[in-house]
């Protein structure tokens, strides 16, 4: 229907964005009436997402003409911003910003670097930015899930953790069951995405590649590659977090800090 009304691709895109945004707002309104606390965040998140993606589109149009290395500062900026967003999810955790920065550098950074060196991500702006940003964004979600869950587990099991400490356990050992639970829970969405790939959903990058005329088989294979990269980066960042996060929860004398989860 919109195609009949708009003949310019830009206006058509804006109209499509407005339609889905209004639909999402209606759903958020219903959710708010049912007491969900996300209602207030949604209009701002939609507007922010739209502005950000338009800006990145304009920036990409500009960068596409430049050399590949111009994508490095952009990817680095994405990691720094993602770490800020993760910190906001766990503001009670001491040093949450530097922790998530380290974890995402190890996870998303390590995977993007390795895959680029292997030639799986081609070193050109139009490849590095979209694929890199997908890995970083999903890594951010996984990191938020991990730390949020870990903080919740620690607060819910203070008695067990302090009992373990009182028996002479090291802090890392005392929180080990809760690290494992957080690790598992944070990777469930990424693992489910891999498991349901092609059956339940055909993700964005594959759709994009098909729309731009790539072979469907290559598009499918590359989609698997991207999801596997997301899973690997998530696993790496969580592994890093399992080493670094316990240190933020204890004093140097192995005393559990009082941190409240939201």
């Amino acid at each position: 229907m919109l195609k009949w009304l708009f003949h310019s691709q830009l206006y058509l895109g804006l109209a499509q964005a407005a339609t889905v945004a209004v639909t999402a707002l209606i759903v958020a309104g219903f959710a708010a009436r049912r007491g969900a606390k996300i209602g207030g965040e949604i209009p701002f998140a939609l507007l922010r997402g739209l502005v950000q993606i338009l800006l990145i589109g304009a920036l990409l149009a500009l960068l596409m003409r430049g050399p590949w290395w111009t994508s490095i500062p952009l990817l680095l900026a994405m990691v720094f911003i993602a770490a800020t967003i993760v910190r906001r999810r766990v503001p009670e955790l001491p040093g949450a910003y530097s922790l998530s920065l380290w974890c995402m550098s190890a996870g998303a950074g390590g995977v993007i670097l390795f895959m680029t060196l292997m030639g799986i991500i081609e070193p050109r702006v139009t490849m590095l930015i979209p694929v890199g940003s997908m890995v970083i964004a999903q890594n951010m979600n996984i990191q938020s899930l991990f730390l949020n869950r870990f903080l919740g587990e620690v607060n819910a099991h203070r008695g067990e953790i302090e009992s373990a400490l009182a028996l002479g356990a090291a802090p890392e050992t005392a929180v080990s069951p809760y690290l494992q639970a957080s690790f598992h829970a944070s990777l469930i969405p990424a693992a489910d995405n891999l498991r349901s790939l092609g059956i339940v959903w055909i993700p964005g990058i594959m759709t994009g590649m098909l729309l731009s005329g790539s072979s469907p088989l290559y598009a499918a294979l590359y989609q698997f590659v991207v999801l596997a990269m997301i899973f690997t980066a998530g696993g790496l960042s969580c592994l890093t977090a399992t080493h670094l996060a316990p240190r933020r929860m204890f004093t140097t004398h192995h005393q559990l800090l009082r941190v409240a989860a939201d």
Binding site: E160, L165, G168
Partner: protein, 232 residues
């Protein structure tokens, strides 16, 4: 054989304050006492007086903001926290057992220093707490009293020199409460363990302790024998 008149645990002006709006809020102020080998000291006082805070300082689950704690005359801060906690065991108000079997819980402390208890050693500890044959029982199936017995065996498995008991019977029904009190009294006497027993039950304190320390609003307001403290 260690001498019975040997000082095992000594607190000197032990204090803890908590950061609060407008400065530090004292939780415990200037508490001092000295315990010989085999002595049992009851710590009494109303809820929120600072009894649990004192135990947490003794086990170094919290850091004192003033004073010092000596174990066999040595400043406890010189000891590695894990090493100190093995020597000063603690039984909490609730058992907080780890998921798994009773044997897994009992073996937890020794396994932290690389010692694996044999089945016979675990059965021996279970026998001491009246739970013979429970080694492979899943702890989620235990009653409150049974779980507390396992948590006592778990603390004893480390062979602590000092045992801290944080109201170990307060969360139990009257029957279990009496059983656990008798069990602990027996174990402490049998092992000549030095013991700090937090309770708000003055009758219990009189039954089990050689010394009693009364804490009110973070201050030690009395230290003496139960007769001096409760029948004065």
């Amino acid at each position: 054989m260690p001498r019975m008149d040997m000082t095992v645990l000594e607190a000197r002006h032990l204090s803890r304050a908590h950061p609060a709006s407008g400065g530090l809020k004292p939780l415990l102020l200037d508490v001092s006492f000295r315990l010989l080998r085999g002595q049992v000291m009851a710590v009494t006082g109303p809820s929120g007086a600072g009894k649990t805070t004192l135990l947490r300082l003794l086990n170094r689950l919290d850091e004192p903001t003033g004073g010092e704690l000596l174990l066999h005359g040595e400043d406890s801060r010189k000891l590695d926290p894990a090493q100190l906690r093995r020597k000063i065991g603690m039984v909490m108000q609730r058992p907080y057992l780890f998921a798994g079997t009773a044997a897994g819980n009992i073996g937890y402390g020794p396994s932290q220093r690389g010692v694996i208890l044999s089945a016979a050693q675990i059965e021996g500890l279970l026998r001491q707490v009246g739970m013979t044959g429970y080694a492979e029982r899943d702890v989620s199936t235990l009653s409150g009293g049974e779980a507390q017995r396992i948590s006592i065996a778990r603390a004893l498995a480390n062979e602590p020199e000092v045992l801290l008991l944080d109201e170990p019977t307060s969360a139990l029904d009257p029957e279990s409460k009496q059983d656990i009190e008798q069990l602990l009294g027996h174990l402490v006497r049998e092992r000549h363990a030095t013991c700090v027993w937090v309770t708000h039950d003055l009758e219990q304190a009189a039954r089990v302790a050689d010394l009693a320390l009364r804490i009110e609003a973070g201050n030690a307001v009395g230290l003496g024998t139960p007769q001096e403290m409760f029948h004065a």
